[in-house]
């Protein structure tokens, strides 16, 4: 058990190390001088530009040897210092990111969780029903294959423009300031609904299909046949199959939750929803390397944490893994 986890932790550390290295390489891979590139994109006044140039040259540490730059980068990370954004100069990258994260959570946590629950229920329900298998399931395949941004665009166009029911841009009305007032809440929810719904629908398809395929395998397992032989009602057989089919789905859920931080890039872009995905696009378009680096660091940490949690959860929910660790 100990051995198992220490090995896992080792892999995670290794991955983190690699990811950070790639992260560090991003601006340095750029042809030319990253600071120059960055500033030429950001159209700012020349005296401000000088201040920024001085700051970034120092921040990137381009005047010290590469290995020193690399070590400095690690040091900065451990101090929680991710530099200053160009695009939102002179704000700290960490602040910019922390401002975006709540929107991601608000959008993705409900859409992931609800679609997971609904999709699994539906998939289990549809499995081994010839009628549903031939009517509704093909639609879920289509949903799973639908590009996020396309569904988002379709909904924005139909529900937003043609019927004008929902606003299609931003997280709340431009005329408002975030507050805990009722009016703000209504505005927030109205802006939230379309991105949420488009994410929910596509993911619903994926979960439903995954569950349907898994449960069919489980229903053909020996333990299911044994229960049937002993006259157990369909509901019990299905309950067991469902529970076992859920195990891989839990992995999927954790992986997906890990990507919550990454946001739903395409969806946020369509709706100009100010989460990390949208932020990342702005950063890319403005060649704001510190912001890009910061976003990626957050994404990687999220993914790694989620993976680690799966490993722990799995040991708890599936006795088979526990046995494997102790040897037979």
């Amino acid at each position: 058990m100990k051995r198992y986890f220490s090995r896992k932790v080792f892999i995670y550390i290794l991955t983190f190390f690699l990811a950070v290295t790639i992260d560090w390489l991003v601006p340095r891979f750029m042809p030319g001088n990253p600071v120059q590139n960055m500033l030429s994109r950001a159209s700012i006044q020349s005296d401000a530009a000088e201040v920024m140039r001085g700051y970034y040259t120092k921040a990137f540490g381009l005047d010290v040897p590469l290995w020193q730059q690399y070590l400095n980068f690690w040091q900065a990370i451990f101090h929680g210092d991710l530099g200053v954004s160009v695009y939102m100069f002179p704000e700290k990258v960490t602040n910019v990111i922390f401002r975006a994260v709540p929107y991601d959570l608000a959008l993705l946590v409900p859409s992931v969780l609800l679609s997971w629950i609904a999709g699994n229920k539906f998939g289990a329900f549809a499995a081994r029903s010839r009628w549903l298998d031939n009517t509704i399931l093909p639609i879920t395949y289509l949903l799973r294959a639908t590009p996020y941004m396309w569904l988002a665009i379709l909904m924005a166009w139909s529900l937003g423009i043609v019927w004008g029911i929902f606003p299609i841009s931003g997280a709340y009305s431009f005329s408002m300031q975030p507050s805990f007032s009722f009016a703000f809440l209504v505005s927030f929810l109205r802006h939230w609904f379309l991105p949420f719904a488009s994410l929910f629908i596509v993911q619903f398809g994926g979960w439903a299909i995954g569950m349907r395929n898994m449960i069919i395998y489980e229903l053909e397992e020996d333990y299911s046949h044994y229960l049937e032989s002993l006259g157990a009602p369909r509901s019990l057989v299905r309950k067991y199959a469902f529970r076992n089919a859920m195990l891989p789905q839990i992995t999927g859920l954790a992986l997906r939750l890990g990507q919550v931080v990454a946001g739903a890039l395409a969806t946020e872009i369509v709706f100009s929803y100010p989460g990390i995905g949208y932020l990342l696009l702005q950063a890319i378009n403005n060649q704001d390397y510190f912001l890009i680096q910061g976003c990626f660091l957050f994404i990687v940490i999220g993914v790694l944490l989620a993976n680690f949690i799966i490993d722990v959860v799995y040991v708890i929910v599936d006795p088979r893994t526990r046995q494997g660790m102790e040897g037979t």
Binding site: I11, T15, M30, Y141, T146, L154, I209, N213, F296
Partner: protein, 287 residues
């Protein structure tokens, strides 16, 4: 007691042709493939040429209408479809091949080789594809569909590798591998002549999934601006329409066809995959 099993080819076709999922999936994919191949010959317009008036809805002359720049949407669509197939074939193919290699070697050799390859697989799974693409996008200022496909392929193999590895692992314990070893065959030869042929159906299914995944990944990359800088793709069409406010202007013919084609094509691929699974695995067949 089991009924006698027969693995003859005609049995495969018997079930294949009676599997609605497989048949429908194949028809849809085939339809798009034909469209992608002959489509460009049906249009007299060039990709970016100003073919006619701006923002024309579909008509007899402009089947899918025109863009804000007066480009013919149908022309872009058929070329975009071509690009989608290229990404699927190259990206999905590459992912399958790399995944296959890694899976074969990890599964067959086990031990240290397995540990190391596993570590590599896990690492690649965790590092976001976007990060790598960003580096590459920054590096290659001129990018084509092929570049994009290669990057996608090189970053999507881990799932295939995991699947192939576990299959190889179970095949390895069968006696026919021992029989081959007892002729002094090299492990390479055993992998290629004994293990791989047994997994053809599985590899093909893996490829079908990877194809779909690569097409969707490419569409997302194109949409956020990390796609090809030259040519057209279905993702780029959506990006352009979005950037030029097609939503607000109601130019639906610009963004509906590319997304619909993607959903149908990839959905058909997934459907095909499940159909194939049912054909190869009698337990899953409809009852």
């Amino acid at each position: 007691m089991e009924p006698p099993q027969s693995k003859e080819k005609n049995e495969f076709f018997y079930f294949a042709l009676r599997n609605n999922k497989l048949v429908i999936g194949l028809i849809v994919v085939f339809f798009f493939l034909v469209f992608a191949i002959i489509g460009p010959f049906l249009t007299e317009h060039d990709l970016n040429e100003r073919a006619g008036p701006r923002n024309q809805p579909p008509s007899a002359e402009y089947w899918f209408g025109t863009t804000t720049f007066g480009q013919d949407v149908f022309t872009q669509f058929v070329y975009g479809l071509r690009a989608a197939f290229i990404v699927g074939l190259v990206g999905g193919g590459l992912a399958t091949i790399v995944g296959m290699m890694v899976g074969f070697f990890a599964g067959y050799h086990g031990g240290m080789v397995d540990e190391l390859l596993n570590m590599l697989t896990n690492t690649v799974i965790t590092i976001p594809k976007l990060a790598v693409l960003l580096v590459i996008a920054a590096y290659l200022t001129v990018r084509g569909v092929i570049h994009e496909s290669i990057v996608i392929g090189l970053w999507s193999w881990p799932w295939a590798a995991r699947a192939v590895r576990s299959q190889t692992f179970s095949l390895k314990s069968r006696n026919f591998i021992d029989m081959a070893r007892m002729t002094g065959m090299s492990s390479m030869k055993i992998i290629w002549t004994e293990i791989a042929p047994n997994m053809m159906s599985y590899l093909f299914m893996t490829f079908v999934l990877q194809f779909g995944g690569a097409v969707l990944a490419a569409a997302t990359l194109d949409f956020i601006g990390l796609g090809p800088t030259e040519g057209i793709s279905l993702g780029l069409m959506m990006q352009h329409s979005f950037n030029w406010s097609a939503i607000q202007l109601g130019i639906w013919w610009w963004f509906v066809p590319p997304g619909a084609a993607l959903a149908l094509l990839v959905g058909a691929m997934y459907l095909m995959n499940v159909g194939l699974d049912e054909v190869f695995n009698p337990k899953l067949r409809e009852r």
